[in-house]
């Protein structure tokens, strides 16, 4: 029987899943992903998560609870930093420790540290440490690592071509050709925020679908090339040292400056530390671009569907009216 490794469908799953999945399956390990976020799953998470947690951490606790009895190993890498000179968020650094403190009878935890802050090239070392748990042969681990990198770069380049992440991820998973989405709308809306808010359709109440139904084409930070992000982020007088935050700020500044969008929506989760500052920075820049409409939404576990729909409709109406007035 193959060893089962569980990956929670939360936090950086949306970005790194193809990499991890390819690595594990090349080593002959079965990967099990927790189910999609549901009300029940979130409720289970709330039982274990500390009260003051941000929404994303609460959701992640729910996913861990979902995997508990199904797997032999739980893969919760300690993501300190994935780029030179940056961090992810302090909560990511302590996440495995919090899980260990909150749950009893956990499956074996793989909490290898990924710290590429000083030396961005040594991604292989932590991956080797993960591989060693299952396989002794250096070559097979190295092979799996190389294959994983290849898959990841394919995945990222597909995202950069302007495809939305959920579609790309499911087509990657099912090894199917990507069905190009062709929304009918003529509006272009940038949706910025942390990936675990943008793509978890329960958490954000399916906002991408709702926007597309209202006749908008959605652009996310993943579609902006890293070079442009770096260029914009370097202009900020102080370095934004959260790599996700840097990406969000860089991408939204680029999109605002490029004037290719009609509106921008920032999605933040309740209690998120980085979001509280990112909102301020983005809103300040958006104020300087009066022709681009800007909306900031905060998500929490009580978010009512009707509230979001009303605000989105009003937002789209506003943009449509502006257009009419212009022409």
């Amino acid at each position: 029987m193959a060893i089962k490794v569980g990956i929670p469908r939360a936090l950086l799953y949306y970005r790194l899943y193809p990499f991890w999945k390819t690595f594990f399956s090349s080593l002959g390990i079965e990967v099990i992903v927790s189910g999609r976020t549901t009300k029940k799953l979130l409720k289970e998470g709330l039982k274990y998560a500390p009260d003051e947690a941000c929404l994303s951490i609460k959701v992640a606790f729910g996913h861990v609870q979902d995997l508990m009895d199904k797997v032999d190993y739980l893969f919760l890498p300690r993501l300190v930093s994935l780029e030179r000179g940056t961090y992810i968020c302090p909560k990511f650094i302590g996440f495995p420790d919090m899980i260990r403190s909150a749950f009893d009878n956990l499956p074996l935890l793989i909490d290898t540290s990924f710290n590429l802050r000083r030396r961005p090239s040594n991604l292989f070392f932590p991956m080797y440490r993960v591989g060693r748990i299952f396989k002794r042969s250096f070559l097979s681990i190295y092979g799996a690592y190389k294959k994983a990198l290849e898959e990841e770069s394919k995945y990222l380049s597909s995202l950069r071509k302007g495809n939305l992440l959920p579609g790309v991820l499911s087509s990657w998973e099912k090894k199917r050709a990507l069905r190009p989405s062709n929304p009918k709308g003529n509006l272009c809306i940038a949706l910025v925020g942390h990936p675990y808010n943008l793509y978890d359709s329960f958490v954000n109440l399916n906002i991408i679908k709702k926007l597309e139904d209202l006749g908008a084409r959605v652009i996310t930070p993943e579609m902006v090339s890293p070079l442009e992000i770096k260029k914009e982020a370097d202009k900020i007088p102080q370095e934004v040292y959260w790599s996700l935050g840097r990406e969000i700020v860089g991408a939204s500044f680029y999109l605002l400056e490029s004037k290719s969008i009609d509106g921008m929506i920032h999605l933040g989760s309740f209690g998120c530390g980085p979001d509280s500052f990112l909102r301020e920075l983005i809103a300040d820049r958006a104020r300087k671009h009066q022709e681009i409409a800007y909306l900031s939404l905060i998500l929490d576990e009580h978010t009512g569907e009707a509230g979001i729909v009303t605000r989105l409709e009003a937002f789209i109406d506003l943009i449509q009216r502006r257009r009419m007035l212009k022409s």
């Binding site: 998560a49 500390p50 003051e52 947690a53 961090y87 968020c89 302090p90 934004v240 509280s276 301020e280």
Partner: protein, 367 residues
Amino acid sequence: MKATFPHVGRMDIFIKGMTKALGMEAVVPPTNSKKALNLGVKYAPEFVCLPFKLMLGNLIEALEKGADTIILVSDRGPCRLGLYGLPLQIILKNLGYKFNWVTLDSPQAIKSSFQLGMIKGVEKYRDKLTFMDGLLAFHFGWKKMLATEEIERLSLKIRPYEINKGDTTKVFYQGMRAIEEAENLYDLKKAKNKAIRNLKNISQDRSRKPLKVAIAGEIFVVLDSFANLDIEKKLGELGCEVDRTIWFSTHILHHLGLDKFMRKSKRKAIQAARPYLKYHVGAECNATVGYAILYAKEGYDGFIHLMPFTCMPEFVAGGVLTRVSKDYDIPIFTVELEEHSSQTHLMTRLEAFVELLKRRRNQRSNQ
């Protein structure tokens, strides 16, 4: 140049002492108050932590008083503190203030800001002052702060024994004011000794057996008695001998790497937390967990964990502390502080907590 800085605990005593010795001018914002907090809350982002809001309030008040240069001592992640500069500048500029901004977050920044003439005002003094003057001024400021901390530490020890409630607090503030006003080292020593004598002369009931409680958590709220709603005084008057884990001086010494031989240093706390936190999360997170373990081993009755609402590193510590509390059998009380925290609310919770500690102690002595 009129420089200003936001308050962090009693850092103003240090800076005032230093600038006084140098004959320079610094605009010290009024001490943290409801007014500063309201100003901060009005203009700050919604979910930002309490220290940010208070600092913003301080800076607005200082700019109103005529300051033109803001100096912010900061760090480089992963906590939000390192990025305070960006939103603060944006908010203050949008409010229409004009100022020079200096962030001191690394030795390089300090050097380059000196070179860029940030401390332009210093040039005026440069010919008159020597390096030795600077060193002496630093020494004077440092001594002043140490003296304040010493009498504060003593007041924490004496408060649970006082017969007339409030005596200790009154005497402590008198002593602190005298220390603040001291002009030279001789005055300072006299003021300190007098304060210590006065504190020891407070009428006390030595037959009491106070509960022992330790306080740890995020540095700003632990140091600032306005932000933590005077929790030490409240605990003392409820009959607890409080030990505070973080002082401004120990924090500086830790960052200079000089706390190797100190008892219960932050370094030792971080080591003690290793079984629970395998990685250094940043800020005071590991130290908080470590202190809980150290104090539990020492036989303390309770542990209080202070954190601002939405603080990221302390949130991780809070998650881990639930397990520490079980493993070491020590009650841990986490207080989240935000702009809506009220005195009475905290008092009720503290009374309940102290009651719980008393009951535990009685049960133990009966066994």
